[in-house]
Symmetry: C2
Amino acid sequence: MKRLIVDMDDVLADTSQAILEAFNTINHTNYNKEYFRNKVFYEFINQAQFESIRPMIEAKGFFADLPVMADAVQVMHDLQAKYDVFVVSAATEFPNSLEEKYHWLANYFPFIHWKNFVLCGDKSIIKGDIMIDDHEKNLKTFEGESLLFDAVHNWHLEGYQRVHNWKEIELLLN
Amino acid sequence: MKRLIVDMDDVLADTSQAILEAFNTINHTNYNKEYFRNKVFYEFINQAQFESIRPMIEAKGFFADLPVMADAVQVMHDLQAKYDVFVVSAATEFPNSLEEKYHWLANYFPFIHWKNFVLCGDKSIIKGDIMIDDHEKNLKTFEGESLLFDAVHNWHLEGYQRVHNWKEIELLLN
C-alpha cells in the first residue's frame, strides 16, 4: 500500500484565510485572497508599514478553529481504502499549536489514527510515496511524487503538478 | 553531514524510572529497575492484579518533569558538530504530552532547533542515517544504522547493537 503524506495548513485547513482575516482585523484592511494573484503574499503582509500578525499566530487559539477545506473530509476518508495516509504538519515553530492541531485533526478527521499523525519542523526527514503540500521547501526535499496544493502564497511557483481542490485530488489518486 | 535520529523516552529522558515510580505510588509497592532483569517489564506492570498507570500517563504533567539521562545534554551538544541531529518522539498516543515534551526538550536541550524536533506515532515514516532508540518496533523499520539504547523493557531483546549510556554513544559516534 502506497504511503500518502498530506500537509495540514493550506491543504486540510484553510490557514491562509485565517491569516488574512487576522491581518485585516489588526490592520483595519479588507483584503481577500484574489488581491494577491499578482503579489507575493508573505512579502506583502510582512511589510513594515503593517502590524505584524505573528503574535496572533503564536498565541493560544489561532490553530484551534481553522476552517476545514471543502471536500477534504470525504476524500481523505475514501483515500484510506487505497493508501496508508499520514498527516504531516510543520508545527514546532509554534508550540501552542501542537495540541490545537492534534484536536483539530481528531475533530474533523477522527478516522486518522494517532499513529499516522506527525508534528514536525523540517519535513525533509519524512519518507513516503506521494506528498501533497503547499510549500516548495517541503516538496523539493521529498523523494516520492509531489502534488502542489494551490495556495495564495504559491501562485507564482512553477515546476510542480498543481491541484486546486480535494475533488481534483480524488480524481487523480482514486 | 549524516542525520542522527535520537529518541526521547528512555534515551534522553528516564521515562521508565518515572513509570516505575508512578506504578509504585499507586500500587504501594517498591520495585526498582533491577527487579525486572529477568522479567518482561510491561507484561509485569500491566497485570490485572495491579492498578493501571495509564490514567497517570495520560494526564497533564506526567511528561513535564521527567529526569534527564546522565551525560545526554553534553554528548548531544557535542554531536551537533558532526551530525544533523533530530529528536523524534512517539507522542501522539498521549495528546497531553505534546507541549510538555516540547518544553522539556527546549529546557534541557536549548541548542536543538525547533526544525529538528518531531512528535509522531509510527516512526517508520522517518528517514535518516543512524537511529538511537529503545524499541525494536522503531529500529526494525529504519533503513539506516541502529543503536538500541538499553532500557528496563528491552533487556531480553537480542540482535541489535546495544548502548548502555551516553558516554558509550560519545565513544561510538565521535
